[in-house]
């Protein structure tokens, strides 16, 4: 019943045996010890399990593991793999844009993706883009500040 899949995970070619009912959160945690994507609501509504599949943010709790066969998967753990923090991560720290931190990886990945699409987003664009991510500590005002700071950092680096 298990199926062997091969995919790229944070830049590395990997393979794994997956059962049909395994979702991507389980695959990442059980097989690769990557726990930054976390299952919380289990319905794709909170964004805690966000990962990028072929450059697109998905809710890994609703994404069957077998679907990543042949895909390029990027998780939060890749952002500072080279040692230094990503500008979005720096901006989240400097703006106190998290409290318990459970939802933070999802927000960081979504923000990185937002800034690729829109390097200088308005408050309105930020709120709408991130409206699929929930933060029960409600660090929302600080997250908006962090996204804008990250945009400035990214622009400064680009120059």
């Amino acid at each position: 019943m298990n199926r062997r899949i091969r995919f790229t995970l944070n830049g590395e070619r990997v393979e794994a045996d997956v059962a049909p009912h395994h979702n991507l959160v389980e695959l990442l945690a059980e097989r690769f010890d990557l726990v930054g994507a976390r299952e919380s609501c289990g319905q794709g509504l909170c964004g805690c399990c966000t990962v990028l599949v072929d450059g697109r943010a998905v809710s890994a709790c609703l994404y069957l593991a077998s679907f990543v066969d042949g895909a390029n998967v990027v998780t939060i753990e890749s952002l500072d793999a080279a040692g230094g923090l990503h500008p979005v991560q720096e901006a989240f720290i400097e703006n106190a844009a998290f409290q318990c931190g459970f939802c933070t990886p999802g927000f960081v990945l979504m923000t990185a993706q937002l800034l690729e699409e829109k390097p200088d987003p308005s408050d309105e664009e930020i709120r709408h883009y991130l409206s699929g991510n929930l933060c029960r500590c409600a660090a929302y005002p600080e997250i908006v500040d962090a996204v804008k700071a990250a945009a400035r950092k990214t622009a400064a680096k680009g120059r």
């Binding site: 726990v35 753990e77 409290q99 318990c100 931190g101 933070t104 709408h128 029960r136 500590c137």
Partner: protein, 758 residues
């Protein structure tokens, strides 16, 4: 100082969280992610009926599923623990249901398996037969009902503030607290006006995004419990008591918590995983789904009847309150909510004659306990809505009416304790200023009406409770702090490190904070009720001062006065060796409220004061409204970490916004119909007020570490009534029940009856 150190202010600095890097990179440790070799997953089978006697539990089909390790029922639990009941107020909650089930969702059996999917599938094959009993859901009805959720009540006797709990039988009232001040009857008779209203609040859930999770690892004569808990010391004490063991046979460890808000207090899953692990001789983990979480702990729904006598001059001369707290099927910490929040039910007003009755009531609903504010938001909802209605009726400006009646510094609150370091007046004036109350407010168009409202509330801190801390200075001059305060997002690790660093002349970022581990970190009552900054903060400060004094003595003894710390150790021990260990213990003084009058001269170590100003815009055709402005103002003492304080204030206010505008657990015949984030909505980005500000009034808290006090709950107090008051101001209708939905506003505007409460 005799030892050479840094001289940079550490307290009052917005230090970034010590664990920042771990949290933004997904590497922070949560129990949610923990695994142990050979670990079994437990899946809970739950009651589908609200009240009934268990006739038979059929586990045969579940046991036959490939990969199932075992299936455990309440009777099995009794083979290991003869009296398997726990609870902080009453020993009323069984590890798994015994003889009776008392609410839909109550744990009845558990399947253990290596594969969580197998456990899940097998749990669905369990069948239970019951003799159904009639059930009771409403807190007022339950207070006098002949249906009894428990036949007999056994007080736990654990906490000194709950010493009035009695062994009772054939009643749903777990505790009735009363307060009598002056002569309310006579004052009402003499009053020029009398006003009376009834208010309701709904059942809501904390929904921490890391759902409740615990993992137990058995030893030969010990057990280690890894748990997302706000109260590791209590867990150890309670598990040891249940097992008949000594405390040193039970080790409780926590990691970062993915939110707590009161959901992760006392015993939740810990007793269950401990018993299962000891029976299975394997590590056992139970992590709830978001859906399951709704069946373990909620916030009390309430009914509050409040009556005031007012003089022609606009002075409140008498107030009477009757509060019913819907505690659900198990008391959890409800009796403390009933008493400790109950005594504030008359509000932050100077009233000579007060009569309060507050009832903790059992019903056939999921258990209710502590949720950010510990009952205060429910009470402020009632007394600030009521206060606003009185002002309107008397055609007095709401701020002016409050100014006339507010409790001023030094005046006794209804309980009898004088208000000290309680910036009620300053908070009210700051709200008025930020709302530009003196200027006329924009009234909107005929279709979109605008209005504004204010509300202010207060809370006493839990007492008498103990915190202990250890500061360990290592021989290279670095330092570790050992304390059992749990960092669930409020930033306690960072604040405590700042206190140590300030005392020792070090850099806060370099202090190592050791997470709660009852084999390592000393006792702390719990991380709750905004107590940590004050209680643990004082213990930590004392521990650091003790370490500093011992270090100075060591320097003198070794003839190394004025040397850097590593040189002191080297001078004394001839190499990089040794420790300097400082210990600090803190317990504030306290006088228990008198059983008959509720009177206490010293009921709290400090007061929390918080209020809100709100502007709303209401669509008169649909009842839809939006909060265009929300101003939070709080008395925060002297902040240890100003940025962390601001985020606590705005976070608490936004959470309360959810509890005000849409969050509601909906029950039909005791069955919860919306246990998921799809049907139970919590605030997201699109729910934020357009203009949201959080400000503090700095007022030094005497007795607090560096003048600080707790702030985690303060911004929840005023939000709900300020919104109701603003809606009244905009469209002239009053909402008496939370949540304030567009439908509720529409019904009120059109004279239609409100929806049934549950």
């Amino acid at each position: 100082m005799a030892v050479k150190t840094l001289n940079v202010d550490q307290v009052g600095r917005s230090v970034a969280r010590l664990e920042s890097r771990q949290k933004v990179s997904g590497r922070a440790e949560y129990v949610h992610n923990m695994k142990l070799p050979g670990m079994l997953y437990g899946k809970i089978f739950r009651s589908r009926i609200p009240h009934g006697k268990i006739r038979h539990i059929d586990t045969t089909a579940a046991q036959r599923v490939d990969g199932v390790f075992s299936v455990v029922t309440g009777d099995d639990v009794r083979t290991l623990v003869p009296i398997p009941y726990y609870g902080p107020a009453f020993h009323d909650q069984p590890v798994l249901a015994l003889e009776k089930v008392r609410y839909v969702g109550e744990p009845v059996a558990v399947v253990l398996a290596r594969d969580p999917h197998v456990a899940d599938q097998a749990a669905q094959l369990i069948e239970a037969e019951y003799d159904e009993l009639r059930a009771v859901y409403d807190e007022v009805e339950a207070a006098t009902a002949t249906i009894h959720v428990h036949e007999i009540l056994k007080p736990a006797g654990t906490f000194p503030d709950l010493k009035y709990l009695e062994g009772r039988r054939d009643t749903n009232i777990a505790l009735d607290f009363q307060l009598r001040r002056g002569d309310a009857g006579r004052a009402f008779a003499a009053a020029d006006y009398v006003f009376e209203h009834t208010f309701h609040t709904q059942t809501v859930m904390h929904t921490p995004l890391e759902p409740l999770v615990s993992l137990a690892e058995p030893g030969d004569d010990s057990v280690t419990i890894f748990t997302a808990s706000q109260s590791p010391s209590f867990v150890r004490m309670e598990i040891a008591r249940m097992l008949g063991w000594s405390e040193n046979q039970v080790r409780v460890r926590t990691a970062f918590l993915g939110g707590g808000f009161g959901a992760k207090l006392y015993i939740k899953l810990e007793a269950l995983v401990a018993v299962l692990a000891l029976m299975a001789r394997r590590p056992v983990k139970i992590g709830l789904t978001m859906e399951e979480q709704f069946y373990h702990i909620t916030k009390h729904a309430t009914t509050t009847r409040i009556k005031s006598g007012v003089s022609k001059e606009g002075r409140i001369v008498a107030r009477e309150c009757e509060v019913y707290w819907n505690g659900g099927a198990y008391a959890d910490i409800g009796p403390r909510v009933t008493q400790k929040s109950g005594f504030t039910a008359a509000g932050p007003y100077d009233i000579e004659n007060v009569k309060l009755d507050s009832y903790a009531v059992y019903t056939n609903l999921p258990p209710a306990g502590a949720l950010r504010g510990f009952g205060i938001p429910q009470l402020v909802w009632a007394y600030e809505s009521h206060t606003d209605l009185i002002a309107r009726q008397l055609e007095l400006d709401p701020i002016e009416f409050r100014r006339k009646n507010i409790l001023r510094e030094g005046r006794p609150q209804a309980v009898g304790t004088p208000m000290r370091d309680a910036a009620i007046e300053a908070c009210l004036e700051k709200i008025a200023d930020r709302m530009e109350w003196g200027k006329p407010c924009y009234r909107g168009s005929a279709a979109l009406r605008r209005g504004r409202g204010v509300a202010i509330g207060f809370k006493a801190c839990i007492a008498p409770t103990t915190s202990v801390a250890i500061v360990n200075i290592y021989a290279d001059g670095s330092c570790g702090l050992y304390c059992s305060t749990v960092d669930m997002g409020q930033g306690s690790d960072t604040a405590m490190a700042q206190i140590v660093a300030e005392v020792l002349g070090m850099q806060a970022e370099q202090i190592r904070v050791v997470h709660p581990d009852t084999d390592v970190t000393p006792y702390d009552m719990a991380t709750l009720g905004s107590r940590s900054t004050y209680h643990m903060g004082n213990a930590v400060k004392r521990a650091a001062e003790d370490a500093k004094a011992k270090l100075e003595a060591l320097a003198r003894e070794a003839g190394a006065e004025g040397s850097p710390i590593p040189d002191v150790f080297r001078a004394r021990y001839g190499m990089q060796a040794g420790n300097v260990v400082g210990i600090g213990t803190f317990i504030p003084s306290y006088q228990s409220p008198d059983k008959k009058t509720g009177h206490s001269e010293n009921v709290t170590p400090f007061w929390m004061i918080g209020g809100a100003g709100v502007e709303v815009e209401v669509d008169v055709e649909t009842g839809r409204f939006r909060v265009t402005k929300l101003v939070n103002v709080a008395d925060v003492g002297k902040p240890i970490n100003p940025k962390a304080v601001t985020t606590q204030l705005s976070g608490a206010a936004i959470m309360q916004l959810g509890h005000t505008m849409f969050e509601k657990m909906i029950f039909e015949d005791g069955k919860l119909t919306n246990a998921s984030l799809a049907d139970y909505k919590i605030p997201g980005f699109l729910d934020l007020p357009e203009d949201l500000t959080s400000e503090f009034v700095e007022a030094e808290q005497h007795g607090g570490p560096f003048g600080a006090k707790g702030v985690g709950e303060t911004a929840t107090f005023g939000v709900s009534p300020a919104i109701a008051n603003a809606i009244h101001d905009a469209v002239g209708v009053r909402i008496y029940s939370l949540p304030i939905t567009p439908e509720a506003v529409y019904r009120a505007m059109n004279g239609l009856p409100q929806e049934d409460r549950r």
